[in-house]
């Protein structure tokens, strides 16, 4: 592979990741369509390369959340049992699932992401009374986080862990199948099932994404599914882009960016859906 292609892979990942970072979203969902549409990469190669960049972004952005005490690491490791199990299931399924179904599934996730992008996230109703017999209580998952606006620690309860675990399993399957972080599924799981404060769920979800992706990434690595010349520059571009995007987070009109992103996501969904049906307008998706 020539150096110009490596550079363009880096630049594309950088751009996607920087824009994603500005909205606080992971870029994994853009990487696979970009690789397929702009670089003519096979969908399975794109998925394996993307999973590496998902790991890279999760690791690269974890430190500030940890230092800000927003990440609930106990809850993360409990939920990771489900997400990694899901990821291993996904690794087993990806060889069986026909490629058009993968494209179709990707289109569905893109549309869900567009919808989530437009809907404002509201703080979930807090679970206030903790049942001492609940799994969350027995595992000592309830915690607190520093609220900067209030200037003090705010305690929170973790609700319905078994439901959270089953949703996380699904998120793990999708993550491995599509090479994405599955934040689009993890966040509703955390909001509706576990009822965490938004900052805690974002930080904890981001923390978990790395391990989930490493479970499938490790399997793809030993299988030899990862094309290093694609995964390397894409991972590097994603990390640098995400860090740059996080810096720019406040400096752009988020609402317009949000609409632009939703439109791009829907356009990509249409393209993926057409690939599922075997129609190629442009690019060379397999």
């Amino acid at each position: 592979m020539d150096i110009a292609t490596l550079f363009w892979l880096f630049a594309a990942a950088f751009g996607a990741s920087m824009l994603g970072g500005m909205l606080g979203m992971a870029s994994g969902i853009f990487i696979v369509p970009i690789l397929i549409i702009a670089f003519g990469v096979d969908i399975h190669v794109a998925i394996a390369a993307s999973i590496v960049s998902v790991i890279a972004c999760s690791c690269g952005s974890a430190a500030p959340f940890l230092k800000g005490r927003l990440t609930n690491i106990k809850l993360a490791i409990v939920l990771e049992t489900a997400t990694t199990l899901g990821a291993v299931t996904g690794v087993l399924l990806i060889g069986i699932i026909p490629t058009p179904i993968l494209y179709g599934l990707f289109a569905v996730i893109l549309v869900l992401s567009a919808q989530q992008m437009m809907a404002r996230r509201r703080e979930p109703a807090r679970a206030i009374l903790s049942d001492p017999q609940s799994l969350a209580s027995r595992l000592d998952l309830h915690s607190s986080f520093p609220d900067r606006q209030l200037g003090k620690d705010v305690a929170y309860q973790v609700a319905r862990v078994p439901l959270g675990l089953s949703l996380m399993y699904g998120a793990g399957v999708i993550s491995a199948l599509l090479g994405i972080g599955s934040g689009v599924l993890k966040i509703p799981a955390m909001d509706t099932a576990l009822r965490l404060p938004i900052k805690v769920s974002s930080a904890t979800s981001n923390f978990m994404i790395g391990v989930t992706a490493a479970a499938s990434g490790g399997a793809y690595l030993v299988r030899g599914d990862i094309d290093m010349n694609i995964a390397g520059p894409v991972a590097l571009g994603s990390v640098v882009g995400a860090l740059a995007g996080a810096r720019l987070l406040m400096k752009l009109p988020a609402d317009k960016l949000r609409i632009l992103f939703a439109v791009i996501l829907v356009a990509l969904a249409i393209q993926m859906l057409m690939s599922a049906l075997g129609i190629h307008l442009w690019g060379a998706g397999s």
């Binding site: 049992t81 087993l92 010349n229």
Partner: protein, 105 residues
């Protein structure tokens, strides 16, 4: 009970450090690999291409290993704090990842 999270602290700080410096190292290794490849195109020295390739591969492998090392580190921390339930949970996560990798072989 005073959980790990309530202390702002050593544990979170060590995990944050591992992930941050690990990311820096992996990124730097990949970047050097790409640059070696680029240099070779100018000079025409074919030896560096393979070194560059090897470095890119090494960087990707570091990235994949990083979260797994993070779970192993948490296992050690929980074991050190004599929190055996969580030591077992961390071991379970590692075991699941291990099964996944074995399935890939």
């Amino acid at each position: 009970m005073n959980s790990l999270i309530n202390k702002p602290d050593r544990h979170d700080g060590i995990i944050a450090g591992l992930l941050w410096y690990g990311t820096l190292i992996a990124s730097a290794v990949i970047m050097i690999g790409i640059m070696l490849g680029a240099l070779t195109q100018i000079d025409g020295a074919p030896n560096l291409v393979q070194t560059g390739q090897a470095l890119i591969t090494l960087g990707v492998v570091i990235f994949v290993l990083l979260p797994i090392i993070r779970v192993a580190l948490m296992l050690v921390m929980f074991a050190h704090a004599r929190n055996y339930v969580y030591t077992a949970i961390a071991a379970l996560v590692l075991a699941i990842i291990g099964v996944g990798v074995l399935l890939g072989l």
